[in-house]
Subunit: 117 residues, 2 copies
DNA sequence: CTTGTATTTAACGTACTTGTTAAATAAAGC
DNA sequence: GCTTTATTTAACAAGTACGTTAAATACAAG
């Protein structure tokens, strides 16, 4: 068993794969089966199955059970948590950003490299 | 040379490591040198240096050069892009969420497992 | 030019990730 | 029961990630 990453790390590594993000994008338009999800990709079904396992372990999808199909659906909880984490950094690209730029400018005194200590 | 991941994947994998996120949190409070950044961690300096390399490659930090110090500073661009990506999913945990819940409830007809097709 | 401080690179080990193919499991339907 | 369809597990290979220690590099200062 792995050392059990913290939830945010688990979410971020799950999202770090473009195939998995594409799967989520598809699920944002509604639930789908494994075969449906695999259709756009040039990888084998087992590979897709494993991506789904990763997404489910991260809580980003949940799965149902209908005959031989295991439909997947998007679960937004971890995305919401990620959004919450990101929020603490939002000030760096919003409003006060100009203020910070100005502040940095005063302490770097026109240094082209922008070093300040 | 690696196949060059797309920028969002690069950002997300850089952020997927808790040590790297802690480094960013520290840098959110102001620029810092490698030794300063390494201080709170129980890992070697080379390990920290490599984390910084990853963060820089992802554009999440920039580095200056002051005598033998290479001060790091936070760069918010990739975080802003991530926020932009996340925005497309925001509807899943805001406002219309209740509506979606209600919708799912109608098609699952009280199934405890929540399957809908 | 030798020493001390800051940081990186090299070399290496271990573990995880991702993909593959072949086989197993699950359920439907004849 | 046997076949078909959907999906997962097993076994394996190649590449990547992350940590270590030892050596190299960069610069400041005697």
């Amino acid at each position: 068993m792995q050392p059990a990453l913290d939830p945010l790390s688990t979410t971020l590594s799950a999202l770090a794969d473009p195939t998995r993000r594409a799967i989520l994008a598809r699920l944002a338009r509604g639930a789908a089966t494994v075969n449906e999800l695999a259709e756009p990709f040039d990888i084998s079904l087992p590979a897709v199955s494993r991506h789904l396992k990763v997404l489910q372990a991260a809580g980003l999808i949940s799965r149902g059970r209908e005959a031989q199909w295991r439909p997947c659906r998007l679960e937004a909880g971890p995305l919401k948590d990620l959004d919450g984490w990101l929020a603490s950094y939002r000030r760096f690209w919003e409003g006060s950003f100009d203020k910070m730029e100005a502040y940095l400018a005063t302490i770097t005194k026109g240094d082209p490299d922008g070093r300040e200590n």
